[in-house]
Amino acid sequence: MKIIVCIKQVPEIADVQIDPETGTLIREGVDSILNPFCEYAVEMALRIKRQHPETETVAMSMGPFQAKAALMRCLEMGIDRAVLLADKKFAGADTWATALTLAEAIRTIEGRFDLILVGKQAIDGDTAQVGPEISEILGIPEIIYGVGLELRNNKKKIRVTREIETGNEIVETKLPCLVSVSKGPMIRSISSFQEILDARNKELRLVTADDLTIDAHKLGLKGSFTQVVKIFPPRVKKQGEIFDGSDAQAAAHKLTDLLSSRRFI
């Protein structure tokens, strides 16, 4: 059993602002973290490994060289080895070019696999597109918003509990497949000192465009079908009235008056 977890390093987005003068992102002083939904995907992989210890787990990411830190975090959590796809030629990729590069790397660098796990979305772009695009390129089925996994039929099939609009459903498919992972019961674990030390001895392989059998014009910005033409700050709503609520009864009056004046009661 081999599980590949595709992960992304993201900025701590609460801190990302736009410079009103230049209209560009202010990234200075913004910390980078492993995308939380990717942490849940890693945790899901490790849960399978705890049940089936012979499982091999690989974390893969496409990003700048600094994204190594996010892969180190995966290794500290317990992933066996990591692959970083870093090359100037990958820069500026949209979801399509990203999915194509990851899919090609999975094909050529890893070859055989049983399961691909991804986070349901990254908190910076929030597109949720790369997972389904990878599964389409690799020709495997996908199940999105998974919160629980169960291997069946001697690991030939998988049952996934997934979130849907009205609740949960259980879906079954044959392996290999791709599952995108939502939060569910997963928690972000804290690595022990020993795990952090162990991670330093694990393999973290660097892969460049030359290692992939893919034309350079299909990579990065050149290979992207979408182009960002403008970024701008969101419109800000005008602030309404602020009322001191230290007297609960007065606050209750204030609230009911507003509801009444706007005909909600």
């Binding site: 929030d126 695009e133 960002v228 701008f232 309404g240 609960a248 009911t256 706007r262």
Partner: protein, 402 residues
Amino acid sequence: MLTVDRDKCTGCNICEKVCPFGAIVVVDGKAQVQDTCTLCGACVTSCPVGALSIERGQIPLDELGAFSGVFVWGECEHRAETLIPKKVVKELLSQGRLLADKLRQDLTVITLGDHRLTGLDSLFAHGADRVIRCQHKLLGRYEPDSFTLVISAIITKYMPAVFLFGATPNGRELAPRIAARLRLGLTADCTGLDIDEDGQLVQTRPAFGGNIMASIVSPFTRPQMATVRPNVFPLAQPNKPKKIRIQDFQISLSKALIRTKKVATHRLEADGEASIEEADVIVSAGRGCANKENLSLIQELASALGGVVAGSRAIVELDWLPHTKQVGQSGLTVAPQLYIAIGISGAIQHLVGISSARTIIAINNDPEAPIFKVADLGIVGDALEILPAFIRELKNRSSAPK
């Protein structure tokens, strides 16, 4: 075009069986492609030896003009034994109408379903010029495999310039599958759509949790594909439709195409309970509610106002409420007339989920909480003290003579 690697092909006949258009026949132990091929890709994913491939080159720039029309996915939901278009389809039509008029092109809805498919006439009242309907017993329930292949085939046949999907859970799975199959640019979860002077679709969406907005185009691929956030675009008033024009798209599907199988469903919402996406009044709980027991106060307030309960991501992650009640960037976008936020600080990811709310009231003990920046009325104080007084006051007023 679809090519067969004759060295790999074993003549197993699977592609012949799964092709929805009867476009493959096996002759002398090798697959052969007929003119009826729509490049839907069904055979490629079913071939056990990888002998089939579709080479999809980029469209030369001077051929982009051959693509015409605004298409909308008419996602349906089950209601009382019928399959009817979701509310988001009408929102897409309201906005799609404006785009189609700017382009001077037609607006078409694509609906897939089985014999229960109904309510299509209302789509014309909301602006559609045409409905393309594909009915098959295997299309009664959304499945990514079958829906990807049918819509890919429709796109290849009709060549629209724009294709919009609701950014619902299904739409956000289906659109990237189709985009990857047909090699198309796709923009996720758009909150603004326009046509520029070159006739391109300009897709605007929040990024970095809503801290910035980005406008995006797909200059080289057609159709230009976007998923569109529900509850953002206003519904246009329905008109008396000019003409009902429904065309049927014929297809033959086999079960072998659908690789995922549903085993069970657990509803977390009580029957008849309004979904927070459609509620007019929402009382929403955040971390400031301190403990799960206090949710009964929230429920009581919601009931007094005829509304429903929702919560912030923090509350859902604590498992106080199911994920179906989560408001915000990684949850649902709501558009109530009245949104009351109790103990919610108002992280940007939460605020983008309530930007369509008409009236926002916030109660929070932190005067610096960002929620106050968007609230029509902000009460700085202890929600656990104010709520009981507020509920009492509401009950007094409703029992008092008017």
